[in-house]
Amino acid sequence: MSYELIGITVLWTFLYGYLIVASIDFGAGFFSYYSRITNNKHKVHHMIQRYLSPVWEVTNVFLVFFFVGIVGFFPDTAYYYGSALLIPGSISIILIALRGSYYAFATYGSKDSHLYTFLYGGTGLLIPASLTTVLTVAVGGYVSVEENHVQLLYGELFTSIYSWSVVALAIVSVLFISGSFMTFYAHKAGDQPALDLLRKYALAWSFPTIIACVIAFFGMNQRNPSHFQNMTDLSWLYGLSVVFFLAAVILIWKRKRYGLAFIFVMLQFATAFFAYGAAHLPYLLYPHLTIYDGVTNDAMAISLIIVFIAGLLLLIPSLYLLMRLFLFDTNYVKGHEADKKA
């Protein structure tokens, strides 16, 4: 495998990781707010808090990892995307900043405020919407490149059906992924009222998710036919994705094996996400930049890969410890330890 491919695979994997953990986090914020305004707060709020408190920063790091990594492996992306995405990028930053800090203010500041929960819930949906701009732009046709000047075509972006279908897809997937994870977590916690409510959320968002997926899939045909052609060549992966989706929904519907159901959800998104990524290659920004002309020098690529492996050796055991203590520790999950925080 060439450095370019290793690099992009690593980055894409981290982006996938972010997609999953951030969706859980974003959706949880929304559910937390939604259950508050529908007077179901007492059912889920504490459980959601218990999961989120120790992990929110870790979620953030996945994102940082991706954009620092892509500048390291493919420095030219900094030039193209950096120049084009000033406004959507800045808006994402502002939303992430508000979300992260108000989460901390609400949780550690020990004041339960309506505004904090609202900010936390609202940004949870706006961030994925604004972040997907990057993926949309990468498909091509939304950026003009002339003589040292890269510009985002806002008119094109805002009037394009494709870009809105991706936004819709992002939002519903967030709610579906989060709903199915939280159902599993509630089940582990043995919290029946929360389980019932969250299971309802998960099921409610399941079919909108698959419909949005299908719309975005076929929307690509008009947007970028060559990319679409690549995607249809990988249609078996997309088919597999649908199978995983159905399996997950059936399990949740039948109230069985919530853990396995969530793994199916992860697989559903993994297959679709990697198929999408593979079809995108070799372009980083269609048609201006490919992984081959955007890549860094060999010395840097090797050292980044070495650091990456060393980093994983350090992080995997640490993440395992984190998960053992908070995700798979029945006492903690059930909330017996919850009041002893900090």
């Binding site: 420095p75 900094a78 000033l86 992430i96 908070f326």
Partner: protein, 453 residues
């Protein structure tokens, strides 16, 4: 009124983001160490006051770290958005430590999550203490890696520039560039120093406000002893930084010192005013001191500003930034050492009869917190403005690096509002957190003290 200039707006926006981030990042690097020391003392002396100190500091630390994290994320993205050409060049040359910084931060974030939520989970207190070690390492390593990038911007190394193309890159040489040793140690030690003083200021403030609780006295003593150690180290490293500048960035040292003619036996200029013909008025001059700072001997020849083309020189007001930084360093050194000596019970100690807890002394310490932060800020402003007009010294200028996008001005407004909101809220939240749950209550609640004790 103004002509739209993306370079200028990008500079202002970056300056605001960084100086806001620095407040939280400095404490974010320093606080884990202070927390670790307090928790360690609590275990070693079997003194619940220190344990509680660690616990309360950790609670405040999380809020600070949260804002530090989000503003750090902002910078990471903003660098690409505002300085796309710089990041393109940086990706080719200095991408390695940027990447490593993320790992350090990842490591810290994981263990911080664990540390905060496991205070009472282990039977052995030592086990919980061990969890803070990765947080200290992660925080300091983050500062280490990111400062090497700043070092690279000052003394770019580890590549060749052939016809405007960066080739023959050695990532390790770029990371361990000549600026790295002094810059990294200076940044890390001053993070510790500033944090120690901020925590000391809180304790001093409490004592001034009439609390006479031993808890605050222990806090003050611990922070001042460590503060004194860090202040002495800061001074020593500052001296080495002077020697580094003399060798690698003489124009920066000369600009900081308003040193125009190349001479030996150069004096150190403190304060003063510069006339239009570059005459220094009203300044305090310490004979030979600049030569000593630069080379260790009075005979050392120090290169003057006149040797450099004018368009490659930084604005000369950096002299004041430099002076403020040095003055503040001296002030912190003086205050912390004086406090430690006043509380050192040794019969040969001449100043032990002074009261370290007198109101004047407490005032000096309480003022030291914000002053230390001011010192950190002026140090960074000096470092950045002193490198002008370059973003990568001698390779790329700031204007070449900036984005050509429209709307940087609107982003500037939006981000200013964001930081104002975050700044105000974090202040309110931190204040409420400790005000609504004063230490006296917590001591009783945790059964460390009885009511009214």
């Amino acid at each position: 009124m103004f002509e739209y200039d993306p370079v200028l707006y990008s500079r202002i926006l970056t300056a605001i983001t960084l100086s806001f981030h620095i407040i939280f990042a400095t404490v974010g690097v320093g606080a884990p160490l202070m927390i670790a020391i307090a928790e360690w003392m609590g275990i070693k002396r079997n003194d619940p006051h220190y344990t509680l100190l660690a616990r309360r500091w950790a609670r405040g630390f999380v809020v600070v770290v949260a804002v530090g994290v989000v503003t750090g994320t902002a910078i990471g993205l903003q660098l690409s958005l505002l300085w796309p050409n710089f990041m393109q060049a940086a990706g080719h040359t200095i991408g390695l430590p940027l990447f490593m910084e993320v790992f350090a931060f990842f490591f810290e974030a994981i263990f911080l999550g664990i540390y905060l939520y496991t205070w009472d989970r282990f039977k052995s207190k030592m086990k919980h203490f061990l969890l803070v070690i990765p947080v200290v390492i992660g925080a300091t390593a983050s500062a280490f890696f990111i400062t090497t990038v700043n070092g690279f911007m000052n003394t770019p190394y580890g590549f060749d520039l052939v016809d405007g193309v960066l080739t023959n890159v050695s990532p390790l040489q770029a990371m361990f560039n000549p600026a790295t040793p002094t810059k990294v140690s200076h940044v890390i030690i001053t993070c510790y120093l500033t944090t120690a003083f901020i925590l000391a200021a809180i304790a001093a403030f409490k004592l001034m406000r009439g609390s006479n609780h031993i808890y605050h006295k222990k806090a003050l003593h611990m922070t001042m002893v460590t503060g004194a150690v860090f202040a002495i180290a800061t001074a020593a490293i500052g001296d080495l930084s002077g020697k580094f500048l003399h060798e690698y960035q003489p124009e920066k040292l000369a600009a900081a010192e308003w040193h125009f003619e190349t001479t030996s036996e150069a004096p150190l200029v403190l304060g003063g005013v510069l006339t239009e013909d570059n005459e220094v008025n009203y300044a305090l001059e310490i004979p030979y001191a600049l030569s000593i700072l630069a080379g260790g001997t009075t005979g050392e020849e120090v290169i003057g500003l006149n040797e450099f083309p004018e368009e490659e020189l930084p604005p000369l007001f950096v002299h004041y930034l430099f002076d403020i930084m040095v003055f503040i360093g001296m002030y912190l050194l003086l205050v912390s050492v004086a406090f430690v000596l006043m509380n050192w019970h040794n019969r040969f100690n001449p100043i032990k009869r002074f009261n370290g807890f007198s109101n004047k002394m407490l005032w000096a310490i309480a003022a030291g917190g914000p002053i230390a932060m001011l010192g950190t800020q002026s140090g960074w402003f000096f470092a950045e403005i002193g490198r002008q007009p370059w973003i990568i010294n001698g390779v790329m200028t700031v204007s070449e690096a900036a984005t050509s996008s429209q709307h940087v001005d609107i982003m500037l407004v939006l981000f200013s509002i964001l930081y104002a909101i975050l700044g105000v809220t974090s202040f309110i939240v931190l204040r409420r957190m400790f005000k609504h749950y004063p230490v006296e209550h917590e001591l009783v609640e945790r059964g460390i003290e009885r009511e009214g004790a």
